[in-house]
């Protein structure tokens, strides 16, 4: 039984902590329709900032907050490249992602920083409640944090600004016609998104005991896969359900990876498993329609 609980709680923790990346990817790709690739750089940025500050003796809570803010700055740069210099969104993201590699190295002054011996938010929380920093504790920690973040996002996306943000991805022309600067909504959205991604990076670094300059590789793919799985599996409608579906997608994704690993699948095949999972998620509605002999629209490019 221990084995099952361990597996489930481990997946739950990972699903939630990487769920913030998924939320960030959801905000750019889905809410804003802005294909932002900064993510692969802002995730290790969060780790780099948090780890460097913690090693420097800064309170881990503050360090995590600064990691979040650093992510916001990265997103800000990407969105400024796009809105003020009119650089294509994909390219702006790639440019920022590449720059962040050097920036992250400059922050850490080496490629890998260990926070094994340092105080982390998990250890601080354990101290606060006078318990051992176990997996159970980190799961509870993440559940509480996820509820807080989901609550804030759920509120934000319903505010006047939040509405304008969502409408930007839905119908940019209408939004401009209503007197909203879509530049502004893009800047807010992309910044917020990368803030969440960096927050995740900061937390991951503290849990796994190190920050590594290479730890962002594949983040965007993971985030997109989780978003697609969440959307297809839970068929969300309305802001609240969408947010939960996105986190749910991240959980299912982690659960699948965990199962694949435990089935003894060689890890070099895991990427293939991810791709298959996304293909299945994407193809379900098509196959359903095919079975029901419904009309199927032509293949889309976007």
């Amino acid at each position: 039984m221990d084995y099952v609980i361990n597996f489930l709680s481990g997946s739950l923790y990972e699903g939630l902590v990487y769920g913030f990346v998924t939320l960030g990817v959801y905000i750019t790709f889905r809410v804003l329709a802005f294909p932002d690739l900064t993510v692969d750089g802002s995730f290790p940025l969060g780790g780099a900032v948090a780890a460097t500050l913690i090693v420097g003796g800064v309170n881990p809570w503050l360090a995590t907050l600064v990691a979040f803010i650093a992510g916001i700055c990265a997103g800000l740069m990407t969105s400024l490249l796009n809105t003020k210099l009119r650089i294509n969104a994909l390219l702006a993201g790639i440019l920022m992602m590449v720059s962040l590699y050097s920036i992250n190295l400059a922050i850490m002054r080496r490629s890998n920083i260990s926070v094994l011996r340092e105080a982390t938010v998990f250890k601080k929380t354990a101290q606060l409640f006078g318990v051992e920093p176990t997996t159970t504790l980190s799961v509870i920690f993440m559940v509480v944090l996820a509820i807080i973040i989901l609550g804030i996002l759920n509120w934000f996306l319903r505010t006047e600004i939040g509405l304008a943000l969502r409408a930007t991805g839905d119908n940019e022309q209408m939004v401009r016609g209503l007197g909203v600067s879509t530049d502004m909504t893009t800047i807010i959205g992309v910044s917020l998104s990368n803030g969440l991604v960096a927050l995740s990076g900061g937390l991951v670094a503290q849990k796994q005991g190190f920050s590594d300059v290479g730890m962002g590789i594949g983040m965007i793919v993971m985030g997109l896969a989780s978003v697609i799985i969440g959307e297809r599996l839970f068929r969300p409608r309305g802001v609240t359900t969408i947010l939960f579906a996105v986190i749910g997608g991240s959980l299912v994704y982690r659960l699948f990876l965990g199962i694949a690993l435990r089935l003894g699948l060689p890890p070099n095949n895991l990427k293939l498993v991810t791709a298959l999972l996304v293909i299945i998620a994407l193809a379900i509605p098509y196959i359903q329609k095919k079975v029901r002999r419904e009309w199927i629209p032509p293949a889309a490019r976007m």
Partner: protein, 333 residues
């Protein structure tokens, strides 16, 4: 209708999850007395693979055979950092008897995951265990249930070797990926070794093996020799570097044995298989009840001089006969 469909999907997922979870459970019940060893490797790479093989061989030579009286669970994250922690958590969840980690990031992750449990972590192929906080110090680390074998190369020995072959060396160039923790550490060591000898170090950081050619060409005319550490990126693109060195007559000194065979001049090095074997012997002691916290961290024991006379000739250098005589391995073609 919609709820029904979702429920169906969720139920299938749960069913699959339960199946997957129950299967190993039944396994676990069967083999109660068998010791479990979890091996976590960061990526497939000739040196790291050799380390693992050496390790498993040492276990077998000492009577611990996989599938018989021990169960080896080998997991490789293939460079995906998000899996490093998943693997560590799996080993801790499986309550393995020892976690063996090959390379730095997964060692750190395993130590973080095993904290609060009594599972020892034995690392291998880690260059700087004290500097990265794995152990308090190499010799004594009573609070860390961690030990292992470091692959720290003796950079000073390599520099000494260079001065024996090229006595008037003034500048040493080096290529390394500044994204690899070990490489950055080794370049620091190189500078420390060169400073008292009045030798200048010219650094050329690269980020992918595609950058090697350009970086190597930029060193032409600026350096007397090129030395490279055990850098995964540079070693994997070594041929590009050898090409430039042969064309421009710049002696190239890699620091691992395999790179000498591929066309470097000479090094004091060890075989990663031996490092792994040494780690395996350490694991045997721990499986027999030794305390990891009381086991000092070791350096690679078997160090030998490797030279490649043909490569030296192609780069316009003659290796002194006494060095060739002293070498453990001589490549001459």
């Amino acid at each position: 209708m919609k709820i029904k469909r979702n429920t169906k999907i969720m139920m299938s997922i749960c069913l699959l999850a339960v199946l997957v979870l129950v299967l190993p459970l039944m396994n676990a019940c069967k083999v109660e007395e068998v010791k479990k060893v979890g091996i976590s490797q960061i990526v497939s790479h000739p040196a790291l693979d050799a380390t693992r093989e050496g390790c498993i061989k040492a276990l077998a030579d000492n009577g611990y055979v996989d599938g018989e009286n021990i169960e080896i669970d080998y997991q490789n994250s293939e460079g995906d950092m998000t899996l490093v922690d998943t693997i560590s958590a799996k080993f801790v969840g499986d309550k393995v008897d020892v976690i063996v980690t090959i390379a730095t990031p997964n060692t750190l992750s395993a130590i973080a995951a095993a904290e609060g449990t009594d599972i020892p972590v034995v690392f291998s192929a880690v260059t700087d265990p004290a500097g990265s906080g794995m152990v308090e110090s190499w010799e004594s680390h009573p609070n860390d249930n961690v030990t292992g074998v470091s692959d720290m190369i003796a950079v000073a020995d390599d520099v000494d070797l260079i001065t024996q072959i090229i006595p008037d060396v003034k500048t040493i160039g080096t290529l390394y990926n500044d994204g690899e923790a070990n490489s950055v550490f080794l370049v620091e060591k190189l500078k420390e070794a060169c400073e008292p000898l009045g030798i200048e170090v010219v650094e050329r950081p690269v980020s992918t093996s595609a950058d090697i050619l350009t970086a190597a060409q930029s060193l032409v005319g600026q350096v007397d020799v090129i030395w490279i550490g055990t850098d995964n990126t540079v070693v994997s693109g070594l041929e590009a570097l050898i090409g430039v060195c042969e064309e421009e007559n710049i002696p190239l000194f890699p620091s691992d044995v395999e790179s000498i065979e591929r066309g470097g001049i000479a090094c004091y090095g060890f075989d990663y298989y031996d490092i792994g074997y040494q780690t395996g012997e350490m694991i045997v002691k721990i499986l027999k009840g030794a305390n990891a916290a009381e086991t000092p961290v070791e350096k690679g024991k078997i160090i030998s001089l490797s030279v490649n006379t043909a490569a030296a000739e192609r780069m316009g250098v003659t290796i002194p006969q006494e060095l060739i005589d002293a070498a453990g391995i001589v490549y001459d073609e």
